[in-house]
């Protein structure tokens, strides 16, 4: 009998990856697709690099003896202290841009394109899909909201002086940026992903996320200003800033957002992340149960 094996086709007879680890394939594919086009991830990453260089430059200048000698009393020290919290605000803005180019459309695009059939016709469970997509987004967002701040914190430690006391004073900065960067990473990875699962249309998902982030957030701040400052924590940047400002305790930055209590900020972040992940899980499960590829 003539078979394809006679024509050089070799059957795959090796081991197979266990179903429980296939979410890693989804992560890898997510990273690969993000890297494919310049506008989806590379441009945003470039902005984060610029912010890192500018903030790092300020910190370096503030540590320079000549600048310290010429600058007005306290200004170089203030520049050094402010650089990381201000950079964190910018990293969050850049992460929002990334959410518009990538994360807020991830699940919607898969629903719209029928890509669910690729996953669920194979040994992939909805939970594998959710973990894979979330982990992929966490890795991508972390390069913006975690890697940059950690580099700046390392620079700050490096510029802190040679004595042990200065080093001991600077070391907590690293823990702080890990905490804030970690929270920001979760927020900007999970919440847009949740919106992307709301509607099976990428454009609508983007519009909903942008409207929630910008319009609903601004309304929450306005209402919070008139009633209770805790309401302001519904605006995600304010919730992250509430944590940042408490941890860094830089007086000059205390403005409107500083009035959002730390507990409200943490509760808002936690609730947003949990609801978003739950939403993705529910929608993906529902889509899989109802037949992912349509009726015919």
């Amino acid at each position: 009998m003539s078979t394809i094996h006679d024509l050089g086709y070799q059957r795959y007879v090796g081991t197979r990856r266990t179903a429980a680890t296939r979410w890693r394939v989804i992560v890898r594919n997510q990273l690969s697709i993000a890297w494919k086009t310049w506008w989806r991830y590379k441009a945003v990453l470039a902005l984060a690099v610029i912010v890192t260089f500018v903030a790092g430059g300020f910190m370096y200048l503030a540590s320079d003896q000549r600048v310290r000698a010429f600058g007005r009393a306290g200004i170089p020290q203030m520049m050094k202290e402010v650089a990381i919290p201000v950079a964190l605000q910018w990293y969050c803005r850049i992460a929002f841009l990334l959410s518009l180019t990538l994360s807020a459309g991830v699940v919607a695009t898969d629903m719209q394109s029928g890509a669910f059939t690729f996953y669920f016709a194979r040994s992939i469970r909805p939970v594998d899909y959710v973990i894979g997509k979330l982990a992929g987004m966490v890795l991508l967002v972390a390069t913006i909201t975690l890697a940059g701040p950690v580099l700046l914190a390392a620079l700050r430690i490096g510029l802190s002086g040679d004595d042990t006391e200065s080093l001991a004073d600077a070391l907590p900065v690293l823990l702080k940026v890990f905490a804030i960067g970690g929270l920001a990473t979760l927020v900007y990875a999970a919440v847009p992903l949740g919106f992307s699962a709301l509607v099976p249309n990428r454009r609508y998902a983007l519009a909903l996320w942008a409207a929630y982030y910008l319009v609903v957030g601004a309304m929450a701040i306005g209402i919070g200003y008139a009633t209770s400052h805790s309401l302001g924590a519904l605006q995600l940047p304010s919730a992250i800033e509430a944590v940042t400002l408490r941890l860094f305790d830089v007086e000059i930055l205390h403005g409107l957002d500083a009035k959002v209590p730390l507990s409200a900020g943490l509760i808002s972040i936690g609730a947003h992340v949990v609801v978003a992940i739950g939403l993705v899980g529910w929608r993906v499960r529902a889509a899989q149960q109802s037949g992912v590829g349509g009726a015919t």
Binding site: Y9, A19, S113, F118, R122, S123, G291
Partner: protein, 309 residues
Amino acid sequence: MSSAVVSVERCSKWYGNVLGVSDISWELKGGIVGLLGPNGAGKSTLIKMMAGLLRPSRGTLTVFGKQPFEEVAVRARLGYAPEHEKTWDELTARELVTVMARLAGVPGDRAAAAAETALVEMGMANAIDRRVKGFSKGMRQRTKLATAIAHDPELLLLDEPLTGVDPVARVDIIERIKKLAAAGKTVVVSSHVLYEIEALTSEIVVIYRGQVLAEGNVYEIRKLIDRHPHRIRVECDQPRAIAAVLATADHVARLVFERNAVLIETRDPDRCYDAIAGAVLDGNIGVTAMTSPDNNLGAVFEYLTGGAR
């Protein structure tokens, strides 16, 4: 336990109030089987249930003795090529098939090799590193088939794999599917075009309005279908000359004159085509077009079921 690769027992599927398939019972033991039926007949629904993408609303459907919707592990033994063309267009064919192989469990280091083998097998060697975005319909179909075979499944589910493919590519794809079956794979192919299925296999299942109308040898079913009056429209400069030749033929049921054309209804298309050719040659008639408005399985099935279903 049954030795059937696929076993469908009194299976129904509803989409809300819309019936996808209705009370289907069927067994598949191996080889190539063609699912034939007009659009909306329920072929894709049945294939999706086999692929584990849909859960039957009623009845049981097993693949290799397992229910594919519930037991995800059995899906590693399936290769599914969906009807739709959408893929991750920004990826190259190699990247796309590699990802699919990895999703099916082929480890990272072996997936790329498996993908390349599958793409070469599907005749995509020259376009292996091109982005899917620029692919023609035929190339997309070949790439889809490669994604279905890369992890070396035992059962292939191919939903309309020849749709939109040009005639040369169609012949090539048909030969490649036949080779896969010769290599020991069980293949289920759906189509709404009878001659596509005939070219692939003699074993067919005819589905219409969610039910299995007939199953078995294609030639028997072909005879049934051929009894349905077949219409041939001949556009020419002398329609009455053709009609004069055909008017006395016993297989011709009806002749209708149109502007510069004649519409012939026949119960024996082969003899009718021969008679038309003879009339054209003998009478030196200038024919501008010859079409058959009956390439519509729906009409044939309505006829077979007496229009009562």
